[in-house]
């Protein structure tokens, strides 16, 4: 069994809205192992984004413990946290959040600026990452000259820049058409398998969630349900329907001809 990269113990987070104290997360515990691909689902206001923010050191928990790669980040001050975000975290946003005045390669280089002194080394790694997400030859293009799917690929390459322990993706397919949606989710799944990248993804999209290996349902700040995703079967090269052997690249089972990924809502009531 691989070692845990994220351990959350009795995490609570509440916001004060005027006089009212609004709980966003209450007494939540979660462990994610290295190399896992996890989907966090749940209705609006269930605390998905708050959880992601706390994991990503963008927000501080009210109580509880968050161990990232063995480091208790709930106690760290801001002047330490930025290094954790830079070295241990990769962020993929719903709206891509690329800097419009920088080209694709420069956007990917950004997180490396504080870590890698040599400009040529950063450049080299950025080009490699862009090739990995299928954008070789597009290094010099600014975001406005890239399609939405391409922009999200650049964002994914940027998230991978510092070899993070965890990639946090907040609705990465939320702003994409169905074809780009498919490509991005496959890219993430692929990176999880080929690079062993731990990915935690918040999503509304059940179809996308099926591409992960663990699906968590969040409600009122608590994890109320957990299901296995199809991705785990694929990792084991087993068809979820007939149990016969399948390849990584297969969308449908070569034996039973059924689509490998289900399009059902995983937590439909």
């Amino acid at each position: 069994m691989s070692k845990p990269v994220l351990q959350i113990e009795k995490l609570s987070k509440s916001y004060s809205l005027g006089k009212r104290n609004v709980p966003a997360l209450s007494n939540l515990s979660l462990t994610v192992n290295a190399g896992e691909f996890v989907a966090i689902m749940g209705p609006s206001g269930s605390g998905k984004t708050t959880l992601l923010n706390v994991i990503g050191c963008l927000d501080k928990p009210t109580s509880g413990q968050v161990l990232l790669d063995g480091i208790d980040v709930s106690k760290l001050p801001e002047n330490q946290l930025y290094k954790i975000r830079r070295d241990k975290m990769g962020f993929v946003f719903q709206t891509f959040n690329l800097l419009p005045y920088l080209n694709a390669r420069e956007n990917v280089e950004l997180p490396m600026e504080g870590r890698i002194k040599s400009k040529s080394e950063r450049k080299k790694r950025a080009s490699e990452l862009l090739a990995m997400v299928g954008l070789s030859g597009r290094e010099g293009h600014r975001p406005q000259r890239l399609s939405a799917g391409e922009q999200q690929r650049v964002a994914i390459a940027r998230a991978l820049a510092n070899n993070p322990a965890i990639v946090l993706a907040d609705e990465p397919t939320g702003n994409l058409d169905s074809q780009n949606k498919q490509e991005i989710i496959k890219l993430l799944a692929n990176l999880n398998i080929t690079q062993g990248t731990t990915i935690i993804m918040v999503t509304h999209d059940g179809q996308a969630a099926h591409h992960t290996e663990r699906m968590l349902l969040l409600k009122d700040g608590k994890i109320i349900n957990e299901k296995q995703g199809t991705h785990l079967m694929k990792k084991n090269h087993t068809c979820p329907h007939c149990g016969s052997s399948i390849q990584m690249s297969d969308d449908t089972c070569p034996t039973c001809k059924k689509p490998i990924y289900s399009s059902d809502e995983p937590f439909s009531a």
């Binding site: 801001e78 002047n79 290094k83 946003f93 709206t95 800097l99 600026e113 940027r158």
Partner: protein, 465 residues
């Protein structure tokens, strides 16, 4: 904002002009004061010229009370540059019907008799004993009148020796020597055996600096040559008093005393004291010259007061305008940068989410603010160099100046407007100053927005609009 930055440059240029006018006038005033002090404290003392009157009378010429005339002014020094047109220095000796006159040249005085001027009369700063002797050829002409003929022998002056005491206290502090040296050097305290020649002397002796010349059988080295400041000076050569006394066989004798009073206020008192102690002396102060200088001085003072009033007015206007501009520029940078930070909240959040420190973010925005104001500064300097004269003329009170005529008199023209003429030519210093100010203002104005940027929560990156 560019225009804002250009205004202080124009204002400063104008301010400089006003200051220059005032400071130039101050210099003129202090120079005039120095002249007044030198002139005003000077008292010339000599024995009354011992000329007996002469006349053409019937009978034996004697001590008739005929028309008397005076040649020369004795020891006309002409050193201060304000000498009224005296001429002379000539010595006329004549014999006329038994009558003799020795006009012009002051009678020799026994130096030792006058040591009390320095020691007992209060208000005396220093006493300069002078021996003046003219040398030349005697020329005899014959005059006839009513059948009488008389030979008149006249000295055709070739040069005049002026012996002055070359003591440090006199040489260093009083205008006892010519100042307009054209070759070589002036006489120094303690010099002996050297002379300072006028240009005419130099031609007469055919000698230049460093040459040896013979004066009354004594050899002297030429130390320097001066250009006389008045016509009375053209044939005067200067040497140490003791040298002059020795070669003219006048050891212990002088021809005049120049007394310097401690200040101009005590001059008349000192002059009176000298007259009462030594009634035989003719005592002259330069009241006329003094009056003239004092009139000039008061004109200058009025001018200065005008210039200073303009200057201070300009100064306060300039200061006010600069403060306004500084504040306005800072505020503009502040608001532009605050707006920028607001607009780019999400970008800043993203930068922080992907691992930029607060310090880096703050630095980034400071840099942007400074860059913004630097660009504004450059544009401002360009606009300022074109528009500053017009701008400052519009914004500032006019500066009154007087102009000096060629004769040195001051024509008061208090309302002269000098806009455009000497206002606001942007010097490199001003350009640097404006640019420096732009950077400073940019820094000031972007400090708070940059701090705001640094304080943006990285979770802002997660917000979607």
């Amino acid at each position: 904002m560019s225009i804002m930055v250009s205004i202080p440059a124009g204002v400063l240029a104008n301010q400089q002009t006003a200051s220059t006018v005032a400071s130039n006038l101050s210099n003129v005033i202090s120079q005039t004061s120095a002249s007044i002090n030198q002139t005003a404290t000077q008292i010339d003392c000599s024995l009354a010229p011992s000329f007996s009157g002469f006349g053409f009378g019937s009978g034996s010429g004697g001590s008739g009370s005929g028309p008397s005339f005076v040649f020369g002014g004795g020891s006309a020094s002409g050193r201060s540059g304000f000498t009224p047109g005296q001429f002379g220095g000539g010595t006329v000796t004549g014999q006329f019907g038994g009558g003799a006159f020795n006009g012009g040249q002051s009678s020799p005085m026994n130096e030792s008799l006058y040591t009390d001027i320095n020691s007992t009369i209060s208000g005396v700063a220093v006493v300069e004993p002078i021996l003046q002797a003219s040398e030349g050829q005697n020329v005899t002409t014959t005059l006839s009148f009513n059948g009488y003929t008389r030979d008149i022998t006249r000295l055709d002056v070739e040069y005049t020796i002026e012996g002055i005491p070359l003591t440090a206290s006199l040489v260093d502090n009083y205008p006892i020597l010519p100042t307009n040296i054209t070759a070589g050097s002036n006489l120094q305290a303690g010099d002996s055996g050297v002379v300072l020649l006028s240009e005419n002397n130099s031609a007469y002796f055919g000698a230049g600096v460093g040459d040896a010349i013979t004066i009354l059988n004594q050899t002297f080295t030429v130390a320097g040559i001066y250009s006389p400041s008045s016509v009375s000076d053209t044939q005067t050569l200067y040497m140490n008093l003791s040298d002059a006394q020795a070669i003219t066989n006048n050891t212990g004798y002088i021809t005049s005393l120049t007394v310097f009073a401690q200040n101009s206020d005590v001059v008349s008192q000192v002059a009176t004291s000298i007259s009462s102690v030594h009634p035989e002396l003719t005592v002259t102060t330069d009241q006329d010259r003094l009056n003239q200088l004092q009139t000039l001085q008061s004109t200058y003072n009025t001018e200065l007061a005008n210039a200073q009033a303009s200057d201070s007015q300009t100064y306060s206007t300039a200061v006010e305008e600069i403060i306004v501009v500084v504040a306005a520029t800072s505020l503009i940078v502040l608001f532009v940068m605050l707006y920028t930070v607001r607009e780019r909240t999400k970008e800043i959040g993203t930068l922080k989410a992907i691992g930029f420190s607060n310090l880096t973010v703050m630095g980034q925005f400071m840099l942007e603010g400074i860059l913004l104001s630097m660009i504004a500064g450059v544009v401002g300097i360009v606009i300022g160099s074109i528009a500053a004269p017009t701008l400052s003329a519009l914004l500032l009170p006019s500066v009154g100046i007087g102009s000096r005529s060629a004769t040195g008199a001051v024509i008061v023209s208090g309302t002269t407007r000098i806009s455009g003429l000497s206002v606001a030519t942007l010097s490199p210093e001003l350009i640097l100053l404006a640019f420096g100010a732009a950077i400073l203002l940019g820094t000031l104005g972007s400090l708070y927005p940059a701090w705001r940027a640094a304080k943006i929560r990285p979770a802002e990156a997660m917000k979607y609009e």
